[in-house]
């Protein structure tokens, strides 16, 4: 496949993802022959502006985590392109990639598994600064103290170890480490789903404050639509490796168009026992990403499917008279 000629991204797009695909080969038998592939990410495109948040929401196995990791080149892409700050991420040689990665960081779901238990907090947060030759000695110590302060932890904690901290504090440590190299983009992969409700709110509030102070862009990946729409400017809903709907978060809530988005929304537990409920239940279960259904991937479960749905793949196009509200569904086009 010949890569399309690089075009200059729109003025304010920090990250531009085009037709990104990540397939994992499935091997069987003694010779390890490839018998098929899992289409974890299957042709997604979006743009993210500076200091904005794009939420990527979907249920387990929809490809949202793989998408985040492919953008960072932690997983090789099968096809498509990622342009960050005007540079083609997949075309960069390793040395250049390392330079670019200073500007793209990630925080993980599991604050227990993502910190080295044998390193002190100061060591963990200072490591990126040392590796990238940004600071040493007294300067390093001051920078680490400043980072701890920024995420709401006392600088006196720097000589302690991860096991001495609670889940919420560990997530703060992960955020401080991600901030060390002054990134422009942070990919947040389920950053609050392992935390208690009261701690979730603390971390979400911290992320919002850091964005306002530092002009960070977030790609916020989560399964919880309420959390995602709280923090995001735009929300993209993923199903079986594809974006099925994308809109500004308020509009997605007020006027969800894709049947899957409507199922997802109607499944969220209501906020008050008196809230009326109209449950739209999708039929059956999510099919395997190794054998995605033909046509629209949601058609076997869709309450509104008609004869065109198993045949044509719907394109992601504007609907409801709004250019920034796009949906991939034959009901609207």
């Amino acid at each position: 496949m010949i890569a399309p000629a690089p075009t200059r991204p729109a003025q304010d797009a920090l990250l531009e993802v085009r037709d990104l695909c990540t397939y994992f080969p499935v091997r069987r038998g003694l010779l390890g022959r490839t018998i098929g592939s899992v289409r974890a990410v299957d042709g997604i495109s979006f743009a993210l502006a500076r200091a904005k948040t794009l939420g990527l929401v979907g249920e387990s196995g929809c490809g949202k985590t793989t998408a985040g990791r492919t953008i960072l080149r932690l997983i090789p892409a099968t096809s498509g392109s990622v342009v960050f700050g005007g540079e083609d991420v997949f075309a960069l040689p390793p040395r250049e990639l390392r330079r670019l990665r200073e500007h793209m960081q990630i925080i993980f779901q599991d604050p227990y598994g993502s910190l080295n238990p044998r390193m002190t907090i100061g060591g963990i947060i200072g490591e990126p600064l040392k590796i990238h030759g940004r600071a040493r000695g007294r300067d390093l110590e001051n920078r680490v103290a400043g980072l701890l302060d920024r995420v709401g932890l006392s600088p006196s904690y720097r000589n302690r170890y991860p096991h001495e901290f609670s889940g919420g504090q560990r997530q703060r440590i992960g955020i401080a480490r991600a901030l060390a190299l002054e990134p422009r983009l942070i990919i947040c992969d389920e950053p609050v789903s392992a935390l208690d409700v009261s701690i979730q709110a603390q971390i979400l509030t911290l992320l919002e404050k850091l964005q306002a102070d530092l002009g960070l862009a977030y790609l916020f990946i989560a399964h919880d639509l309420a959390v995602v729409s709280h923090i995001s400017n735009d929300v993209a809903v993923m199903y079986l490796g594809k974006i099925v709907e994308k809109a500004p978060s308020g509009r997605l809530y007020e006027n969800p168009l894709h049947p899957y988005t409507r199922c997802l929304m109607s499944a969220i537990p209501k906020s008050h026992p008196r809230t009326p409920r109209e449950r739209i239940v999708p039929k059956g279960e999510v099919p395997s990403a190794m054998h995605p259904p033909p046509g629209c991937p949601f058609h076997p479960r869709c309450p509104w499917a008609f004869d065109r749905c198993p045949v044509d793949v719907p394109a992601l196009l504007p609907a409801a008279g709004e250019p920034d509200h796009v949906v991939a569904c034959h009901l609207y086009h």
Binding site: S166, T205, A267
Partner: protein
Amino acid sequence: MPPNDILLSVRGLTTRFFTEEGVSYAVEDISFDIPRGRTVALVGESGCGKTVTALSILRLVPDPPGRIVAGSVLLGGGDLLKLPEPQMREVRGNRISMVFQEPMTSLNPVFTIGDQIAEAVVLHKKVGRAKSLDQTVAMLRKVGIPDPEARVREYPHQMSGGMRQRAMIAMALVCGPQLVIADEPTTALDVTIQAQILDLLKSLQDEIGMSILLITHDLGVVAETSHDVAVMYAGRIVEQADVLELFDNPLHPYTVGLFRSRPTLDHKGPLAAIPGQVPSPLAIPPGCPFHPRCPLSDGAGCVHERPPLEPKKEAGTPGHAAACWYAGRVAELRARQEALYKS
């Protein structure tokens, strides 16, 4: 409520863990009733004692280090905590059964789903194997597992997470229990599957009439399913009410904080996070356990003296109790946060 409508009464239950680092005060002096055919939710964050409460009711607290040091659990007039172990075994899985959070780890991977469910029937109902399998198939059909005659022969790994949780529910219900304890039954599931499981539990309750003790951290799940709610914090119940009253008129600052910490789709605006963190059960603050995080604490009364859980004059229903010296000022706190929310 007339006493014969109460299925199970917990009175003064206190469970502690005697560890090398000291005594962990997991559950301290809690009391609540579970009416027949109703769902009572125990809601709280990790470490608040909600799971230990459930394990104490079934006498499944690991001993040592854990021990139920006081209290009673009354079921049909008798105290479960005084039953000899063989009789307690007759209660577990039969009169009271449990549904766990993670169906993969609570099902045995080397037996078929059918064998595992039929085992409970053979054990408790003294019926033969063929009859027990018939009942198992009928139960699997009732919990919405398609093609149950074939699925009884499947192993847990052959099922999806949602199907496994349905199988767990079938196992819990197959002996016709009076009470099902569901410990975070949907936390490990995707949201569309969670909705299906919650709907299933509700419709089975309408049909069979069992009571449910639902343990959860999710106020949305409470709103969806429960009739009565007890909010736990640091091993104690800090507020108790029927579900509408609790959502309309929360009287404990911790409950208010939980509501305001939670992003919901129909509310935009800043979240009001509760500062600080849940105390360790090894070091519970004196006085009111919530005072170090409480926006109403004035550093005086509640630092020294623990407020009792008692009915409040601000309550809208007679059963509504809260453990706060300043419940009278909670309305003001709510108004303040509401203004912040709308700004």
